[in-house]
Structures are given as structure tokens and as C-alpha cells.
């Protein structure tokens, strides 16, 4: 459902992504794991048509994202929880999205409830939200159009333990209903607990991918992750 095909991206000669290839199937959660600066956000921005790859291609539902007619219905995206106008209320952020997608006002209330924001919190401006509340709002925005694919960049950042548990449950339910979920994180334990499939990235390259059991190879997943990322750092240096 989501495909990266040998995607490379260079900024002024520096390779942020180097021949990244992997795919995300419907009905599962893929964790996109890597240290800070590994290229996770760049990859997700290429996928959503916000950045142009230097070479290669990324597709969602078999098409380049920018060629989807109404991407908000097909793909839900949360690329940066901080990217909201601080003077707009949470409810207004969702209302603007619903307006664009032609969804009824009722959907805004449903989504607020789904992500656990109260009516009062919805009426407050985003400037006063905690990072966890912004993540909930961003996830809600992504879910407005009931998409078949979800792309979430570091959605667990700033969530408290209850919030993380809530998100795990929500994503599991969506995946069980057939949604393809791709979420990035630099927090290994977070990804380990929620993902069926893991893609490890370091210095712009896919270092390993497979199920949690496959990647751990009898050791801890953490050890595999640290070995791979330090190898990638060394080869770059």
C-alpha cells in the first residue's frame, strides 16, 4: 500500500536518503526506526509529496501522493505535531480540515472524542496545548477522512504513559480494520511494542527490516539496533 522504491535525496551534496526501499502492507503497523537525523522525516516528506526525491519514487495506493485526487481521504498524515497556528482552537484546526474534505461538522466532534480531547479542550487555542494534546489533535486531523493509510512522524513524542497506551490501542484497532500504518520513532521500546514490522534506518540507509523476532535474532532488539546504527555511523565517518 505504501512503497519506497530506491528513494535518494541529497541536500547540497549531502545524502539525506540513500536508495531507501521498503513497503508497508495494509492491515499492519510498520515502525520506521532510527536515531535523530537518520532521515525518517525526510523520507516521510518525500512520501507525502512535500519534498522531491533526487532519484527513485515513493507511492501510496500505487500512485505518487501528489497525484492522489483527495489525499485526505486516502492517507492520513501527521508530519509535525507542532505545525499548528497557535491562535487557532483545536476544534477550528479540525473544522478547516473537515471543510476541505467536505465532511459534516459532526465528524469534527467524533474525531475530538476519538482522540480524547474534551469539548472544552477543543475550544482552547493550540498555543496553550501540551505536546501530548497537540499529538492527539494531529492524529485526529489525520483520521478525519477515515483513510486507508496512516503516515505518522514521531506520534508518541510528548505523550504520557496513558497517552502512549491509548495510541497503541488506537493504531492496533485501525490496523486490524485493514489500515496500513507507518509510524516513525527514535524510541525503540515504543516501536517494539506496537509494530508488526520494523524498518531500521541510519544515515539515510535502510539498515535492516523484518518482524520484531527476525530482527532481534535471539538477542534484544535494542542490541541489534545499536550495533547497526553504530556500524552505519562508522562507515560514514
Amino acid at each position: 500500500m505504501i512503497e519506497f522504491h530506491r528513494v535518494s535525496k541529497a541536500y547540497k551534496g549531502v545524502k539525506a536518503l540513500d536508495e531507501v526501499s521498503f513497503s508497508v502492507r495494509p492491515g499492519g503497523i510498520t515502525g520506521f526506526l532510527g536515531p535523530n537525523g537518520a532521515g525518517k522525516s525526510t523520507a516521510l516528506r518525500v512520501l507525502t509529496g512535500l519534498c522531491r526525491p533526487t532519484s527513485g519514487s515513493a507511492t501510496v495506493l500505487g500512485r505518487a501522493y501528489a497525484e492522489l485526487d483527495r489525499p485526505g481521504y486516502d492517507v492520513g498524515t501527521l508530519l509535525d505535531a507542532g505545525a499548528h497556528h497557535p491562535g487557532r482552537t483545536g476544534r477550528e484546526v479540525l473544522t478547516l480540515g473537515a471543510l476541505l474534505l467536505g465532511l459534516p461538522k459532526k465528524r469534527v466532534d467524533e474525531v475530538l472524542e476519538l482522540v480524547g480531547l474534551t469539548v472544552r479542550e477543543g475550544r482552547r487555542t493550540v498555543g496553550g496545548y501540551s505536546l501530548g494534546m497537540r499529538q492527539r489533535l494531529g492524529i485526529g486531523h489525520a483520521l478525519l477522512g477515515r483513510p486507508q493509510a496512516l503516515i505518522l512522524d514521531e506520534p508518541a513524542n510528548g505523550l504520557d504513559p496513558q497517552g502512549i497506551q491509548w495510541m497503541r490501542g488506537l493504531l492496533r484497532d485501525l490496523a486490524d480494520a485493514g489500515c496500513a500504518v507507518l509510524l516513525s520513532s527514535h524510541l525503540l521500546h515504543e516501536v517494539e511494542q506496537v509494530a508488526d514490522h520494523i524498518v531500521m534506518i541510519g544515515c539515510g540507509r535502510v539498515l535492516a527490516q523484518g518482524s520484531v523476532a527476525e530482527l532481534a535474532r535471539g538477542r534484544s532488539l535494542e542490541q541489534t539496533f545499536l550495533d547497526l546504527t553504530s556500524d552505519a555511523d562508522r562507515s560514514r565517518a
Partner: protein
Amino acid sequence: MTAHRIAFRRLLVAETRKLFDTRSSMIMTGILVVLALALIIGRGVTMSEPPKLFTLAGTAAIPFGILLPVLGILTVTGEWSHRTALTTFALEPRRARVLAAKCLPPLGAAVVSCLFALLIAVPVTAVTAAARGVEATWSISPQSLMGWVAVMALTTAQGLAMGLLLLNAPAAIVIFMAGPPLWGFVRQLGTAGETLADWLDVNTTTNPLMDGDWNWVAFARLATSVAVWVAIPLALGALRVTRKDIG
């Protein structure tokens, strides 16, 4: 499948809504209304000659000429100041459509503001004339009314163009504000400076729109200044936004 695209009307509704849905935009609208009211009433009270409807309405041009372009600048730069471009362009990847939908509401606001000023000026004219026992002048030539609205829309478009080119609100506002004093200075620089200003200073090239004093040179001057301050920056800015990496 094209039938399922986000209709342009929806983009337009959402972008218009963004003009009024934050505290800062509400304050801006409030200031616009209050200043227009205050200046028109103030002028009515202090005017020594018998009141003229169009002169009173035109008083609002001073705050409008500053605030409408700033509104335009804030509208097109807002997605970058608050990094909401990520969300906006993820919902509608055809960025040119979003930009078009963003530019129209401030232009509409310019037209509405002119009509609003005219609407306030009517009772002020009537009251002032009655209070002084003089005859008011109600007639407005359609040409100067259209010219006035066109100048306001053009000034707003100038703000939009500068904002879109720079994608940085403070820089765009400074450049916009620096225009009039700078042209005043250029005019002091002998005939070359004066010729330059005659062709490029929008504040003078738009005069024929107001007084109807048209000839080919006047038209060429207007076209040149509009190309330099509106059309070219708008085109370059739009090209940049449609191609650049967001995020």
C-alpha cells in the same frame, strides 16, 4: 477521478475562514473597522467645507492602504511562520490551487472594505450636513469609485506579491512600508530619479485610475509598475512555492 478533487470553492471557503479564525486576525479586522469609523467620523466633524460623500469615504483609504497589504502579507506568509504548510499541502498537493485560493480573500476584503467605508460615510455626510445646515454633495462618479476600489485592490495585491516572494512577513512588511519614503527620496535625485519614480512608483502611476486622466504613457507607466511590483514577484513567488521542498 477529477470529479473527486477538492473543489476550488472549498479551498476558497477554508482560506477565507483563516482570515477570521485566529485572535490576531480578529484584532486586525477590528482595527480596520475601528480606524475606518474613527477617521471618517473625525473628518466629518472637522471638515470646514460642506461634506462630500466620496471625500469622507476616501478618508478610510489611509488606514486601508496600510492594513490591507499587511493583511495580504500575513495571509500568504502565515503557512510558513507557523509551519502549517505541511498540513495544508498534504491535504491539497496541487500547491498552485492553494495559492490562488489564498490570494483571493484579501482582494475580496479590499473591495468589501471600500464598500464598508462608503456605507459609513453616508450617515456621517447626512448628519454633518444637517448639523451645519449646508447642502451635502452626494454624487460620486462611477469612474472614480471604480478607480478607488481598483487602487485598494492593487495595493493589496502588492502586499500579496511581496509576501509570496519573500515568505517572510517582517521583511515583506518593511519593504512595503519603505516604498513611499524611498520614492520621495528618489524623486529628489534629479530628472533621472524623477523619471524612474514616474514609471515605478505605484502611488503615482495609479493616479489616472482615480482622476481618469488617461493617455498611452500613463497606461504604460501603470502597466510597468504593476508588472514590477505585482505580476513578477507574484509569479516568481508562486513558482518557488510550487517547486520548493516543504518542511
